[in-house]
Point group: C2
Chain length 437, copies 2
Amino acid sequence: MNIPQTSFPRVVIIGGGFAGLAAARALENQELQVVLIDKHNYHTFQPLLYQVATGGLEPDSIAFPLRKRFNDIENFYFRLAKVTNINAERNIVETTIGNLEYDELIIATGSTTNFFGNTNIQKYAMEMKSVPQALNIRSLVLENFEDALLVTDLEERLALMNFVIVGGGPTGVELAGALAEMKKAILPKDYPDLDIRQMKINLIQSSGELLKGMSEASSRKSEEFLRKLGVDIWKDLRVVDYDGETVRTDGEDHFKAQTVIWAAGVKGDAVKGLNQGCVIERANRFKVDEYNKVVGYDNIYAIGDVACMQTKDYERGHPMMAQPAIQQGRLLGKNILAKLKGKKLKPFKYKDKGAMATIGRNKAVVDLPKWKFQGVFAWFVWMFVHLFSLIGFRNKVIVFMNWVYNYIRFDRETRLIIRPYKKKNKYSFKEQENGNY
Amino acid sequence: MNIPQTSFPRVVIIGGGFAGLAAARALENQELQVVLIDKHNYHTFQPLLYQVATGGLEPDSIAFPLRKRFNDIENFYFRLAKVTNINAERNIVETTIGNLEYDELIIATGSTTNFFGNTNIQKYAMEMKSVPQALNIRSLVLENFEDALLVTDLEERLALMNFVIVGGGPTGVELAGALAEMKKAILPKDYPDLDIRQMKINLIQSSGELLKGMSEASSRKSEEFLRKLGVDIWKDLRVVDYDGETVRTDGEDHFKAQTVIWAAGVKGDAVKGLNQGCVIERANRFKVDEYNKVVGYDNIYAIGDVACMQTKDYERGHPMMAQPAIQQGRLLGKNILAKLKGKKLKPFKYKDKGAMATIGRNKAVVDLPKWKFQGVFAWFVWMFVHLFSLIGFRNKVIVFMNWVYNYIRFDRETRLIIRPYKKKNKYSFKEQENGNY
């Protein structure tokens, strides 16, 4: 992998998400060598992926080049690669570009979509954990509208204009809201020859409430907001299959839909090679102690979504979102420095800063530890927090300009099919020679 | 194609580039039906593609959704499709989504890269006529740097850091300049473990001067600017082959390079079906009369790059750039209205507004009809003209903000490999499972 061997200990970090970046930041300019490995050359600001998927933001404004983040850092190395295995006995990370020895290893590989083993759904439904996936959704939504213009059979047209979002967590709620706003303000103008009332947005939640981890007020209010925007909410309904045409549920309602977005679960993206005993099977996350050390290992740590620290307050681990990842990364960095200096380590204690979700224009819900509020002010808070958290000054400016523009003009201008999504069903009218586009 | 038959005559326009848009604009809200067909759902502002390819601009800021352009226009229809054939006898356009009858047909399909029949070069070299192609270049340039880090053989590393741009027209010159600025300000910081002096940018021009269509002063000055930026300029040298490893020329110099960008020629993208007699074979453009009517047809017109109007001043047709396209489109729209009202048509007369090219920061060359100038002021004029010509207020703002940021910070932040380019040679270290990204 062509990384020089120095007298400094080498810390290898796998993954440049919130957790990995926070850890790397804490290890900057110390007497050690840091190697960050990621399969992308950029950090993805996942909370805004849904706006890329619905044409509100350009993908480049929520991605930040990882190399730039560490431009002036000594003894820092970035490598674009996929980790294939960990050989803990020999302290080696195996990747698509070769092997690398480590002294300390930080696994921050995040999470992937959890289809709970349903290969049909995995094949036909869309997921949204990365920028290219969000762009695929953007393309598919627009392609389905283009196709809806062409079919003469009513049932077929309805299926092309029927959107099913599975999962009533923040991703599902935000996506449903954004689609509903497209239906209201943009699609009737873009497709005057379609009857946009025929477009349906279905949000299916297996339990009895939306935004399950949030307060009851937020859950109720988000439902009210979504209903006002015209979203059909289905609660206590579980999707069991999708064959590319019909979404089957465990209830009486089934849905003929050409766009199904699966936001019903995530699981850790645990790398291979460690003892099976330290992986929690269903969640695919690494069991870690209060110092984020993977159980059974002395110099391997896991942080963020891929780590599961079972505590009294969080019996099934911390929520898989940005805050625990950032806090764990930051502390682990400090603890590794302490360990190397022979100092005492500090156990992790999660500081819950709250949660929030946006439903649409002037509509958001915010749960702070001591204060819960919904509506216009919550929406401004949501925007401020997200702008502030985005990495990079340019990204902040571009996102802000887009939001101002979208707000004033009731618009979302990046509704572009730049790389057509290759449909897997009969509705693909167009020959899709990617090479030519 | 599901477009209603009305009592109004139907004008079909193929292509939403500069020419097609100008024609559609001129035909707005008249007593006719206009159908615009394009294989993309957006207009591409081609003059700035090179900035997308070099990480200076996000692709979404130079693309504009075609449907939005015509949101409030009566009797206007857009269809996303590729035209496969024209049946002039039956007045029918055949497309990937079905057939459509026309009363008047406007062909504005623009141009494609001309490899002059060299299939090797076509296979291994990059082209830059569309947004996805520009993104492919962006990915490849960055991937080659990532790979250069990994190889230990010096010759291999030099090949990965060797850039060959074939063609010294505006595209080649602007691309070479932008790459040279990346070499200067960005790559040394992003790749501190590479010796960036090993990076070479070669601009190969078959004739004795750059920017051939422009003034002698612009040609000379652009060469001076490029040399100052460290670009190696090769004149009177013709590239004859490229096998993915070595660029062969008709001279004594050959180039081992992993990135070859072919900007040495374009040809019309003439649609099939019309008499061979009306197509100029080498240029693949339609012969048109002074009213842009394709010779031999009464209701078929060609405008822009795909049209070749041979006049005394322009024996081989007008230059294949935005201005003739816009002027022809605008006039043709008016002439079609005149024809339908039985009025007299106006012959086309090209009003040459000049040409310009930018080489880099504070460095551009501008030829106005009565005034030629180069340097800082030319650079501001270039920026102003391009900002002004961009379609869409949001795009103007985003491009402007990016330029300000890039100028102040000496930066280009969209250096993201969002969709890896699938290399066709041995240097692809990474397994590229697109689905996973």
